[in-house]
Symmetry: C2
Subunit: 331 residues, 2 copies
């Protein structure tokens, strides 16, 4: 029950959330949202929960948390070949929530909703004696029957990944131990870049249609390349062989590995990349790489899906490595 001096849920909606509501959200004046699905399309739905202290630091910039909260769901939609339609938000607010924090969070969320053309459709705000927990359900659309699945890779498909891997894991490590040995010598621009990669996912929505056209299977890399690849392989009844030397690392990532070679495992297993991992048949590979380049999203072939049921093998200078604890889990 609300204390007399605290804003009501209606106040919160009017002040913070109505500005990002789409038409389907009926300006949040109803108690449910309406969505007219585009004709001839399937819907793709994904839900993610984020907990203060687990998925973000309570003192991360509130706008960054807002952007990231929607961004991670957009990354899921992109990997499934879907275009965003809207989202619902539930928010469990701790007793000591600050209006400034909520204003910043809403600002970041609004920016993201505008950038991804993904309006707020509805939600719920409740009080909780504990860390802030936010949950977003995002809805996207794909032409009927064209959703790109995780479990549909085939043996011989090339394994491709977008962007660079491991930056966010390093950004998180920097956030946790800014004075760590490897971090001390890192140039400021690299530190800023890695921190930004941790705070601000760049969901690859530009690739949705390209994945539908060329990939046999796809997922976003949210829990670490090694673990997510293992999931994709297992879901398809396959294994995979990766050439570690082909994994795309950023200049900042390479600079960090130069200071401490052991960081490579962290980068390959760390979470929060929000890149796309996909399987592309040989016959489609050139067209896929052309299309991604034209979309301004670099994609790199790092290995192949192979028959078998073991963990993916990462080969490097004659050594073989299997990451048995390959996946960062937020759980």
């Amino acid at each position: 029950m609300q204390a007399a001096n605290r804003p009501s849920e209606d106040d919160l909606i009017a002040r913070y959330f109505a500005p990002m509501a789409g038409e389907g959200g009926l300006l949040l004046k109803d108690d449910a949202a309406r969505l007219t699905p585009p004709e001839g399309h399937d819907l793709v739905l994904t839900a993610d929960a984020l907990v203060a202290g687990g998925h973000f630091f309570p003192d991360d910039p509130a706008t960054s948390i807002g952007r990231k909260a929607l961004g991670v769901n957009m990354s899921d939609l992109a990997a499934k070949g879907a275009t965003p339609l809207g989202f619902l938000l539930t928010l469990a607010l701790p007793d000591d929530w600050a209006p400034d924090w909520l204003a910043g969070f809403a600002e970041g969320l609004r920016e993201a909703a505008a950038a991804y053309r993904c309006p707020l459709l509805g939600g719920d705000t409740v009080a909780a004696r504990g860390p802030l927990v936010l949950s977003i359900t995002a809805i996207g659309a794909v032409p009927a029957g064209r959703m790109v699945h995780r479990f549909t890779a085939r043996g011989g498909d090339r394994v491709c990944v977008t962007g660079t891997i491991g930056d966010a894991a390093l950004g998180l490590a920097l956030r946790r131990q800014p004075g760590g040995a490897w971090a001390a010598g890192l140039p400021l621009n690299h530190r800023v870049y890695l921190t930004d990669r941790y705070l601000h996912p760049r969901p690859r929505l530009a690739l949705a249609a390209i994945l539908r056209d060329h990939a046999t299977a796809a997922m976003d890399v949210s829990d670490g390349l090694a673990g997510d690849l293992a999931k994709m392989a297992r879901a398809g009844g396959l294994s995979a062989e990766i050439d570690t030397a082909l994994i795309p690392f950023s200049p900042a990532g390479r600079s960090a590995m130069g200071a401490d070679e052991r960081l490579r495992d962290l980068m390959i297993t760390g979470g929060d990349d929000y890149e796309i991992l996909c399987a592309v048949p040989d016959a489609r590979l050139a067209a896929f790489l052309d299309a991604t380049a034209a979309a301004g999203v670099p994609a790199t072939v790092i290995g192949s899906m192979v028959e078998g049921d073991g963990l993916p093998v990462f080969r490097d200078a004659g050594l073989e490595r299997r990451y048995t604890r390959g996946s960062f889990s937020h759980f």
Copy 2:
């Protein structure tokens, strides 16, 4: 990051959640759900968060919490005239979660999903250092353009409510203070009934089509009759006049009021009824009441929507009452 001796999220999915997944949930083997919307229909979406200690007692039966979690969302869909299609669940689990608890919760949720024909489509499970927070987004369908809104009542419409009002508020009061003065003299069967009403919402899905055919506006009564009626009136730019003597109370509710007349205000303002509140034009009233009776759901006329913008008036034996703190808020 998970401790070595704890089940992974994949383990939890396989053990507890896959059994209630529908075809659209792809057996939860993908990282997003697919939903083919029924042709010629709009979707209705609603999200609710529940927090241990706020919306339920941590020692409530876990199966009851599972049933209630889905039930409250089904109640929203019913009030909008929608038929359930599926739901997504996010779960923030405290460090000390017990397998028995989760098994019971999943069992209750599975029962409810089967009863409401509303399969699990997807979700996310995360760890949280705090109370358990669960969030459900439910999706339903209505024939295109036929969603029943909250803000569309018209002056002169009759205000109707289903079932009985205030039972859950009494059930909650019993739960909090089993030894209270009014409770002491209550027969056991009444105590059991009231507790059941608090624990187990009965979403009025049987009324969805009837509301589409006859109601100008509807919502479910989740935050108390007085407060929810005020919301419906305000959303429509109206006020309302209620004859308190017409409000349907159960035998158990009447028995409690017999012991303490002051309980009536609690029953009119308390939450968790999960009945339907709707506005029906005079010309439709007989047909509406016939249809609800045929569906086995009692509905009662308790007053009228009227022009004006003040809080609804509750008239009783010459006295007028306005509930300024009329709504129980979970926030």
